[in-house]
């Protein structure tokens, strides 16, 4: 399923957080959204999974306006891993994954159990089924939330910095899990090397506007990185794979 965002704008009071965004995710592709803190990544994603209603513009799934859909109907198509963690109620892993079935009307306890078990199997958290969600490590939690998203049986997956607070092995693990889900994916990422390695297409957002888009290595050029992120980037080839990676340091002061 394709995702098309057109002319999207969000205001908070008098401040425009996101301005006239145009973005497209082809069916089955993994599109990354990169940009500095406060550039509007999360705001944009929140409009896609309906946590926020935009001031203007549309989010379309195969042509249908997400914000015109019934909430549960939209949740049957778009699943999300938001950037929030409530630590008040200690649900078990099974209970957290089962929440993914909530948007579905035609279901039975048996079919729910089967779908949830399959999702937990796919993300490798079946052995955690009876554990409390709050007692899990960061990597385990992300896997459980991906299982919940898969149990939702969506066509589109929205991820808000899914690799935050994870060590490097778990970062790679989470991204490859998402990559192999076969879903249309839109993800905000903060690690540019990870983004370049995993995404089919990158959008760079700064001050609420898309400033560049395209294949990762066409987009991530030292000049753009200097302008948007304020860093000096040195492309180097990986000695074994030959993939281009960046080394970063601060720009020299220009006064």
């Amino acid at each position: 399923m394709r995702l098309d965002i057109e002319g999207l704008s969000v205001d908070a009071g008098a401040v425009r957080l996101v301005d006239d965004i145009k973005l497209a995710v082809d069916s089955g592709t993994f599109v990354g959204l990169v940009g500095p803190n406060g550039s509007g990544k999360s705001t944009l994603l929140r409009c896609v999974y309906r946590a926020l209603r935009p001031a203007g513009g549309t989010v379309r799934l195969d042509g249908d306006d997400v914000h015109a859909m019934e909430p549960r109907a939209a949740a049957r198509v778009v699943a999300a891993l938001p950037q929030e963690s409530s630590a008040e109620f200690d649900f078990t892993v099974t209970e957290v994954v089962a929440m993914g079935r909530l948007p579905h009307g035609d279901r039975t306890a048996a079919s729910d159990r089967e779908i949830c078990a399959e999702a937990m199997e796919r993300t490798g958290v079946a052995h955690l089924a009876d554990r409390g969600f709050l007692a899990l490590s960061g990597g385990e939690r992300q896997r459980v939330l991906i299982a919940r998203a898969l149990a939702q049986r969506p066509r589109v997956l929205v991820l808000d910095e899914p690799t935050n607070h994870l060590d490097i092995a778990h970062q790679l693990d989470v991204l490859s899990l998402v990559r192999h889900s076969g879903l249309t994916v839109l993800a905000a990422l903060h690690d540019l090397n990870l983004a370049a390695a995993h995404c089919d297409l990158l959008y760079v957002i700064a001050n609420g506007r898309i400033v560049a888009s395209g294949a990762p290595h066409d987009v991530l050029q030292p000049a753009l990185l200097a302008e948007v992120f304020g860093v000096r980037a040195h492309p180097v080839r990986h000695p074994e794979t030959g993939a281009v990676q960046f080394l970063f340091d601060l720009l020299p002061p220009t006064a």
Binding site: M99, D130, A135
Partner: protein
């Protein structure tokens, strides 16, 4: 606080727990009627109950005892169960609504608001035209007024956010309590002040059959609605973003919860005053037994709350008999140590870690 990794599998099976609690509730109701300060034998109590149920006859000498059992004790015990169930169900709902495990039905200021209305009747003789209904009606009306006030103040462009709700409710509760205190201190009549105090701490002493139907229907309807919305409550407990992504509109659900909570709390407070601790403690006890899933918590918590309050009321009648303690004192005296003990036991992630 570390929790053992096996916490999930050690939970009590739910059907067993519900059947057990239902049996316990029946036994508690009967015990609640049988135990009292009037010294009526258990055999007589059963005879009177049977006579009342089957429409049988009672000897004229027993008329006074029969009246005590049928017109005073039974409605009181039934009302205790209804109030206990209502406070527990609402406690679960409020905790999910403000996403704070330390919230209870009174954190929204509704009960302190009701206290103002009730005390206006007791101390100032307001709404005398309503006769015996003055107290309940005034308590309910002022609970609703308090709710509208809290809602209006807590509202923001982003809807009802949990923190704003808690802060507004708490701040306004202090205000309402100050008004009540001024009324108690300003009142010339000592007995009235005592009755106002009793009311502030909660008491089932004034229970009559007339109060039971409305309270029971409101509590049952509120409970049924909450149980029906148990899955969206789970999503809301995980966070607003998560619920939005699962197709549950958090702002709308919170508005609905606010309305149901206010209606049930207002009704319950109007018949029994502000009985503390039940709405805070029972949800926690039940979560320790069945886990956090609201489908199970909401099936079990009202039953547990009903049993707890029936026994708390029995104790409040017996401990200093023939004098009567406010039942809120009992729930606090029993509740505080039980709560601290369970919390320190360490097997429970109390409001997270």
């Amino acid at each position: 606080m570390r929790r053992p990794p096996s916490s999930g599998s050690a939970r009590t099976p739910q059907p067993l727990l519900i059947v057990g609690l239902l049996l316990l509730l029946c036994v508690s109701l009967v015990c609640g009627v049988a135990l009292g300060a009037a010294g009526i034998g258990a055999a007589d109590v059963f005879r009177f109950l049977w006579a009342g149920v089957s429409g049988g006859t009672v000897h004229a000498d027993d008329a006074a005892d029969y009246t005590i059992v049928w017109e005073i004790r039974l409605p009181r015990v039934v009302l205790a169960a209804v109030v206990g169930a209502g406070l527990s169900a609402v406690g679960v709902a409020v905790q999910a609504m403000v996403r704070n495990a330390l919230a209870d039905p009174f954190v929204l200021g509704i009960s302190s608001g009701a206290a103002v209305g009730a005390n206006a009747v007791i101390l100032l003789g307001a709404f005398a035209g309503l006769g015996v209904w003055a107290l309940s009606a005034s308590a309910f009306a002022s609970a609703l007024a308090a709710m509208v006030l809290v809602y209006a103040v807590a509202r923001s462009p982003h809807g009802l956010t949990p923190l704003r709700l808690i802060l507004t409710g708490t701040a306004l509760a202090y205000g309402f309590e100050a008004v009540t205190t001024v009324m108690v201190f300003g009142a010339a009549r000592g007995e009235a002040a005592r009755s106002a105090m009793m009311w502030l701490l909660g008491s089932l002493g004034g229970a009559t059959w007339a109060q039971v139907p409305l309270a029971a229907v409101t509590v049952a309807a509120g409970w049924a609605w909450l149980r029906w919305r148990a899955e969206p409550l789970n999503a809301l407990a995980m966070g607003d973003e998560t619920s939005a992504a699962l197709g549950v509109q958090p702002a709308r659900l919170r508005r609905e919860l606010f309305l149901v909570t206010a209606a049930v709390t207002g009704t319950v407070v109007a018949v029994s005053g502000a009985i503390g601790f039940v709405g805070l403690m029972v949800p926690h006890l039940v979560r320790m037994l069945v886990g956090a899933d609201h489908r199970r918590v909401l099936a079990v918590a009202p039953l547990a709350g009903a049993v707890l309050l029936v026994w708390a009321d029995v104790l409040s009648r017996l401990l200093l008999a023939p004098a009567e303690l406010p039942v809120g004192v009992i729930t606090a005296v029993v509740g505080v140590p039980a709560f601290l003990l369970l919390m320190r036991r360490g097997g429970y992630a109390f409001g997270g870690r």
